[in-house]
Amino acid sequence: MSSEDRIRALENEGILSTDQARLLSESFESFEAAETRPEGTPWPRRAPYIAAAVAVGAVLAYLIFPWGGDPVSDGAIQDVTRSLNQPGGYGEMNKSVSGILGVLVLLIVPLIAWVWLHNNLVSKEERVFEAWAQTESNFQRRADLIPVLIETVSRYLRHETETLQAVTGKRSEGTAALGKAIDDLAAAQKATTELLKGKGPGLLDEDATLRDLLAAQTRVGSGISAIVAIAEQYPELRSSDQFLQLQAQLEGTENRINVARMRFNAAVKEYNGAIRRMPGSLVARAGNFRRKAYFQSDAEARRAPDFKIP
């Protein structure tokens, strides 16, 4: 069953309100939108080799059309002794070859260095994008688990409530707490949706947006923790293999997000350092390489949600 179908089923059973179902569904759309970029708007494009092409053209022009004219074009007899090496000195021929080689060294070496630096920056930037894609896919993975968690806990609570009502006539407190936790979770997912909406790769250039996204995802983690905490009040549910498996998946996803975030920040650090250091900064400026934002944790995010079995 897909996450979308599961949300619809939970809505039909009255476990999720229409609003909660809509907010959770929208969060899937936002991840899909972020992952599939419309054709024609890929990751930043640049015109990297314009400067390099001009330089290559200049070198070729120099080699094909040598400056200073042709010394034998007026029909005079060429004095080859000027071209030949004389004892203790160099002839004209060697001087012109040396000149060409000199120009080649002066132009080609910086050109090669430029291309190498540019490619190096491209590789580093690609590593940043790749690390971000990994982080996003882990957010998606977590979002997929939310309906499963809600379904598992709510079904158990429904059974528990029915038993409790039959015996004591009281309603389970867990049901009300679960409703509130789902509200918080849906709101956090909505915040994520809005932050990702319409953002392409530009997202990685904005410190504030990434900070807000992290805060929203931390709230999602807290929402999941709240639901797990409700479940842990029921020893039968807590010790069941099914819940153990779900808990393992949640913990695993949380850990993957942390690992992906660490690797993303390491990739950003390497890239940002490369575009600020000389001579990479010159290439970065010409190639429109922009500083990337860190996906840094604030004090709240540093407290990773804890789903451990006590």
Partner: protein, 342 residues
Amino acid sequence: MPRTSRSRRPLILLAVLCLGLAACDEAPLVADGAGLMSAEQKDRLALFHGFLLKDHDIDYRVVTGRDLGDINVFAAERFAALKIGQPGRSGRGLLLVIDAKADLVRLEVSSNLEGVYPDAFVAYVEHRQMVPFFGAGRIADGILATTELIVTRAQRAKANAGFDGEAWHGGSGGGGATAKAGIGAGVDPGFRKNGTGIAAGRTPGETLAQYFRAMARRNAAPDLDIYTPATQRMLRRWVVTPAQMDNLVRAYRRCGASETRFGPDGRRAVIRYGLKERQCAPFFFLRNADGWALDLTVMQNLIRFGRDNSWHFVARAANPYAFAFTDWRIDRRGYPRARKQR
């Protein structure tokens, strides 16, 4: 002896240096920084993990220590630093980290093994197989018992669709699970239930059905009527984990038809499976006043399992249940074979 030409000497020196560096770089399969295992236990673990590497190309390392910091971060970083499942092989790797001070255990799984060992499976083997042994202070046994389940799953993956993601994915992406290790915390008495409803059968087949029923209910009580008194005494000292019980039920569900063979004195019986069912070991029974009881003590002494989980007898050991296997040939290593037709 021919002299080495001057031009080749640097190359030879470089090769020797590279070989030396490679040898130095080779991290051990078991690095027991916390001193939780004896040298013999470490060697045994390394031997079995070596088999796993050889048979399934799964590089399974064990690292123990004290105060390792965040065990999840430590495992991810150590996985990368040790280049577990390094390129050149298939990139398949596992890393077991035990932090003795924090009392935590984590099994980190390489990205391309996540399909074979998903987080839920890893959490299951940790909680239901490894931790009960750790509770009894048997660290190496807990790891080895888990390796058995890992091997079984690898065999199944190989036999079915094969391993996913053969390409190198750059180590682990944080897959796996962490659990409280509970080292020396004692064995969970929750699985030692009472014997209500489990009684010795009037036939060996009935007793075996009762045994499977007890295992399916995860009932590890040692004093059930289905066991001989010697077996009951042995089970009281044993660690029987939920995963072992689940695995036994699952394994025998796949076994084909069985046959019962009685001894000449009518006191002993054997239920055995076909020769092709290499992973279905026979069961031994002893008759007492209440009915037929499982003689797990003799089974424990006589039957062993190989690397591929196929059973065999301990070679040249005296077998009071040999009457049931006279139509088979037992080879020098104790493996049962079909007799050649004359």
